[in-house]
């Protein structure tokens, strides 16, 4: 790739800041988990930030985003409010779901997130449906489904690929292959390492990309989004990456799988944020600028944690509210 093909400096800056925001936010959440202040299960995406940042830079607020149990990064990259995220994780009334969802249930309708939920693969067909809605209304929106490699083992996934392909729906299926589904390595769940080819039988083209390089992810996402916008149908992106922390909670899970310790060391050498910083410096940014990003983001996170800590818990008398949706109360 020649220098001319690189994303502009402004875009590189935004993607890098998004990744730093996700990393530092999750490291803070990990601390709050360790201290016991956060009690709800948190699935951290530290090490996978480039996927969320790269894909979300290729779409707009009008496009739909669907996620799963590990979606803090998706939420932040799409522009979800940081204060509302931290407050939700801490179970406060000011959280994005009012303290009824927690880490695994994030919503930011103003930026196209209609809800992330933890049941593996569950939002993949929902993403297809949102794309169907866009198609029926003749809108230009695309619908992006983020899911892990484990989700590709569910029937939801295969049914959804077929349905989206059949109707040429504007969906981008983004598989973040971090090599583990909970405690099981990919090789313990799959005979052949070919999940990027999952769409072949359904007519959904697939592409495997380096999920730790934000520019590579961004470029692939732009191709997939443009294909969707042209009415040519869905694309499957397999973004190869690695989660540094365990399946759930702040621990590293080094006791899971005999090779995980070595794997982690190797993947840390390929830190996606270091890679993004490399792109930035190459494009003319300065070290001082990068340090400033770290500090600026830290202040924003401190503010969000303060905001959440000073927010009330949901009122006990609200327990029975919202079982049914009542539009007139909104």
């Amino acid at each position: 790739m020649s220098n001319d093909d690189k994303p502009p400096l402004g875009l590189l800056r935004r993607m890098h800041r998004t990744m730093v925001l996700i990393r530092q936010c999750e490291e803070r959440i990990a601390e709050l988990c360790d201290s016991g202040e956060v009690r709800c299960p948190c699935h951290l995406c530290i090490g996978q930030e480039a996927v969320a940042a790269g894909v979300c830079s290729a779409i707009t607020d009008a496009d739909y985003l669907w996620g799963g149990h590990r979606s803090h990064g998706h939420y932040l990259a799409k522009g979800g409010d940081l204060r509302a995220l931290i407050a939700e994780v801490l179970g406060r009334a000011t959280g994005c779901a009012g303290g009824r969802g927690g880490s695994m249930h994030l919503i930011a309708q103003e930026v196209g997130i209609l809800g992330t939920v933890p049941l593996v693969a569950a939002t993949i067909p929902l993403a297809v449906g949102a794309a169907l809605a866009a198609k029926l209304r003749r809108e230009r929106r695309v619908s992006v489904a983020f899911f892990g490699d484990g989700a590709t083992e569910e029937g939801h996934f295969h049914e959804s690929l077929n349905l989206a392909a059949l109707h040429r729906l504007p969906v981008v299926f983004v598989c973040e292959n971090n090599l583990y589904a909970s405690h099981l390595h990919l090789t313990e769940r799959r005979l052949v390492d070919n999940l990027d080819r999952s769409g072949d039988l359904h007519g959904v083209p697939g592409e495997r990309v380096d999920g730790n390089d934000v520019v590579t992810v961004y470029d692939a996402a732009v191709r997939a989004v443009q294909r969707a916008q042209r009415g040519e149908g869905p694309t499957l992106l397999e973004c190869r990456t690695f989660r540094w922390r365990g399946h759930v909670g702040p621990a590293m899970d080094l006791d899971v799988g005999i090779r995980r310790r070595d794997d982690l060391a190797a993947w840390r050498e390929r830190d996606p944020i270091a890679s993004a910083a490399g792109h930035l410096l190459e494009a003319g940014a300065t070290e001082i600028e990068l340090e400033h990003v770290t500090k600026e983001v830290q202040a924003v996170i401190d503010d969000a944690v303060d905001f959440a800590r000073n927010s009330p818990f949901p009122a006990p008398e609200s327990l029975l509210d919202h079982v049914y949706y009542r539009p007139e109360t909104r």
Binding site: G101, H105, A122, G129, L132
Partner: protein, 327 residues
């Protein structure tokens, strides 16, 4: 209002057509919606009238199809998902129960899932265990769902209109055994309120609470009983979640006797919930034990000789009421 006589299936079709005509957010998705094999006359030629972009016959993929409808509903559409048999709908439990039912609560009422999930009970004819199940009571258990079961052409149209307008996930259950029943149906659009039961016959001696096909049978049984000097009140629940507690409780308070007739299995069925509620709220009004007319706890059999003793009808309700009154 102009009222004509329509069949139950025609009433369902008319409701679909008027909803599709009047609201561009409405579309239909599911297995067999282009085929009379699956939908009978209830969707007759609806694809020809509204086009196959909005009337979408689906791959054999209940899970993704229903999930897609949930996603479309979240994105502002008003889908009607069609499951030609409740048995097949089991493959879509995740989008119905985990997703649609919970969504409003999980997100503090910020967003609703305005989806109608239409499930057909299609029994008899020696179809056996996997083509005959009536599992409506499963869905009574789940917070966040509404469940309606029309018994008449009037309610079949009005409840579908109410379900689409509701804004919450509504399971709309119609029974193929009712498709050719005829009754008055207004030509205009109208809604039948969800959670409001209908007194199909006023009586003093016993309350028969029923839903769907068994409500029709209960009306027949009441006529039979009248000829024998028994004055039965018949309540057609129409909605089983939420169900009309006050109407049932008030009736039992007057009659002192309760028979619940349901086309589902006995254990944890509609009757169990209603009986428990009546005992908790009106124990001292009861002059006799509560009786249930429902299916034995066995899978649907095949051979006609077994089907005949498995399924319940008006005669079973009549016999149960007479037995209750003889105590």
């Amino acid at each position: 209002m102009t009222t004509r006589t329509l069949s139950y299936a025609q009433a369902i079709r008319e409701a679909h057509a008027q909803l599709l005509q009047s609201d561009e957010r409405v579309f239909v998705l599911g297995q067999g919606v282009w085929s009379p094999w699956y939908a009978g006359t209830s969707l007759h030629d609806i694809d020809k009238e509204f086009g196959r972009e909005r009337i979408i016959d689906s791959p054999v993929a209940e899970n993704a199809t229903t999930g897609a409808a949930v996603g479309a509903a979240l994105a502002g559409m008003r889908p009607i998902v069609f499951h030609p048999r409740m048995d097949f709908m089991f493959l879509a439990i995740d989008p119905i129960v985990n997703q649609a039912a919970n969504w409003s609560y999980m997100f503090e009422g910020r967003i609703g899932v305005p989806i109608v999930i239409r499930a057909v009970i299609n029994r008899g004819g020696e179809q056996a265990a996997q083509h005959s199940q009536a599992v409506h009571s499963w869905f009574m258990h789940v917070p966040g769902l509404k469940v309606v079961m029309p018994a008449t052409p009037y309610d079949a149209k009005g409840l579908l209109m109410a379900a689409v307008a509701d804004g919450n996930p509504v399971i709309y259950i119609d029974d193929r055994w009712l498709y050719s029943d005829e009754g008055p149906v207004p030509e205009e659009m109208y809604t039948v309120p969800i959670a409001v039961a209908d007194v199909r016959r006023v009586g003093r001696d016993v309350t028969i609470v029923a839903a769907s096909f068994m409500a029709r049978e209960a009306v027949k049984a009441a006529a039979d009983l009248a000829a024998r000097g028994v004055d039965a009140e018949v309540i057609d629940l129409r909605s089983i979640k939420p169900w009309d507690r006050s109407l049932v409780l008030d009736s039992v308070e007057r009659t002192g006797r309760l028979v619940i007739a349901d086309s589902g299995w006995t254990t944890a069925g509609i009757g169990a919930e209603i009986a428990a509620t009546v005992v908790a709220e009106r124990l001292h009004s009861l002059k006799a034990p509560i009786a249930r007319v429902s299916l034995p706890d066995v899978p649907a059999p095949m051979s006609r000789s077994l089907e005949q003793v498995y399924y319940k009808s008006a005669a079973d309700i009549t016999a149960t009421v007479l037995e209750l009154l003889s105590r």
